[in-house]
């Protein structure tokens, strides 16, 4: 199907893009990797009058460590994230996540910023960013602000971004010694959204106890959610099979999935338990071997 008509501009800088956003008010959409917005426009679920294409803005595709955090530019493509050496070596949970998104062709265009800004409860990066306690940088007419990830997702397909703001960067706390994370996703076939998926992150103390845990769920509710009770279950404990089982069971109770073509709510809850077990076991393994 063919999208509705719109006016198009492709500004060369963030300030220029913001100016256009301010000018056009509510009838405007930012276009990044295209892989969610164009499908939605083809179904005429959205008919924006103005499209601001940010793909020609330079300097927003970095994947690098600076000032104590990992900086990912909003326009970093999933394929670049997936192929980044630093991601593979130091942030394997982000590699796990990117690699499971859509298919390689979609990943050649899809962006990290778009994956968060779209806030589809089925998008994979939101859970991982919740587990890692990332921050999102937004720039608007009044300058820049840094939004903690827990304040970023506010509803289904809704974020804390103002209509005249652009997400420019994602900041992930720099990987610490004895920390590890993993993302486990169950999908019906390559390229599909999750039946259930779980992001798990742990930081271990020198005695091997869990000092800090980050747990979050994909497609487990109407929006991406943090499994806070599972985090509490893990905090301060010595890892064991039993602890993993208990935290998995707690996480599955925190989920509130709905029945649809991907399965019944009960099935999905059971799969969240299984995915939590897998993600957590792998995260702990990675933390133990990360000195």
């Amino acid at each position: 199907m063919i999208p509705g008509s719109f006016s198009y501009s492709s500004p060369g800088s963030v300030p220029e893009a913001i100016e256009l956003l301010v000018q056009h008010g509510f009838d405007v959409k930012v276009l990044a990797g295209r892989e969610s917005l164009i499908p939605v426009m083809r179904f005429r679920l959205l008919e924006p009058k103005y499209i601001i294409d940010i793909n020609r803005i330079p300097g927003m595709n970095q994947v690098e460590e600076r000032n104590g955090y990992l900086s990912i530019g909003a326009l970093a493509r999933e394929s670049a994230v997936e192929q980044s050496d630093i991601i593979k070596r130091r942030y394997p949970i982000i590699y796990d996540t990117a690699e499971m998104i859509a298919d390689p062709l979609v990943r050649n265009l899809a962006t990290m910023g778009g994956n968060l800004a779209h806030a589809d409860p089925g998008n994979d990066h939101p859970a991982t960013m919740l587990a890692l306690r990332a921050e999102v940088v937004a720039v608007g007419p009044n300058g820049e602000r840094v939004i903690p990830i827990d304040e970023f997702f506010v509803d289904s397909f809704a974020t804390a971004l103002e209509p005249d703001e652009i997400l420019t960067e994602i900041r992930v706390p720099a990987a610490k010694p004895r920390s590890g994370g993993a993302y486990s996703k169950l999908e019906r076939k390559v390229g599909d959204y999750a039946v259930a998926a779980v992001a798990a992150y742990v930081e271990l103390g020198e005695d091997g106890t869990i000092q800090q845990a980050g747990m979050a769920l994909t497609n487990a509710s109407y929006m991406p959610i943090r499994a806070s009770n599972a985090e509490k279950t893990l905090g301060g404990q010595q890892p064991s099979d039993e602890l993993i089982r208990e935290a998995s069971s707690v996480a599955s109770q925190e989920a509130d999935p709905s029945s649809d073509l991907r399965g019944s709510a009960d099935y999905k809850r059971a799969m969240i338990r299984t995915m939590t077990r897998r993600a957590l076991a792998k995260a702990l393994d990675r933390a133990r071997t990360n000195s």
């Binding site: 008509s5 295209r34 892989e35 394929s79 979609v106 050649n108």
Partner: protein, 156 residues
């Protein structure tokens, strides 16, 4: 807005084109209807099938999910651009010899993706691929062997 036109200048298979189009024109429709290159197919409405795959500055992308106006100044290759000087591309030869298809509708897209993959893996000459072909397609085994054939260094 409605009826508003923009100019797009794009290189497709080495030839330069300039056209006045509506911004909402999808790249796949631009290629088929404006340029008359109908080897690129449309198989779905959901960015799933890959029949529309072209190479965008070398990278395989789904042309049904890009606006043509975004291709301004870029280099696009379609399936028509694989053959060089009457010589089939090794990928085309592979698909031809091994019958890498069932109905053939998505084959142009398959070949564009495979040609990019081939360039990535050629030096390693790996005899593997096709592992992600659609599970329901009777052409999947043939697609695999087609790729294997194209990626095997020729002795003659």
């Amino acid at each position: 807005m409605a009826g508003e036109h923009v100019t797009v200048k794009v290189t497709v298979n080495g030839d330069s084109y300039s056209r006045e189009i509506e911004p909402r024109t999808l790249l796949v429709l631009f290629i088929r209807e404006e340029l008359g290159l109908i080897g690129t197919h449309i198989g779905c409405d959901t960015t799933s099938c890959g029949a529309c795959t072209v190479r965008w500055n070398g990278q395989p992308v789904k042309s049904c999910t890009v606006f043509a106006v975004q291709a301004d100044g870029q280099e696009i290759q379609t399936v028509e651009g694989l053959e060089q000087g009457g010589q089939l591309h090794p990928i085309q030869e592979g698909f031809w010899e091994e019958h890498g298809l069932q109905c053939g509708f998505c084959t142009p897209g398959m070949m564009m993706t495979a040609s990019a993959l081939l360039e990535k893996t050629r030096t390693r000459a790996k005899r593997r691929s096709g592992t992600r072909s659609p599970g329901t397609c009777a052409g999947a085994p043939g697609t695999s062997t087609s790729f294997a054939r194209s990626s095997t260094p020729r002795t003659s």
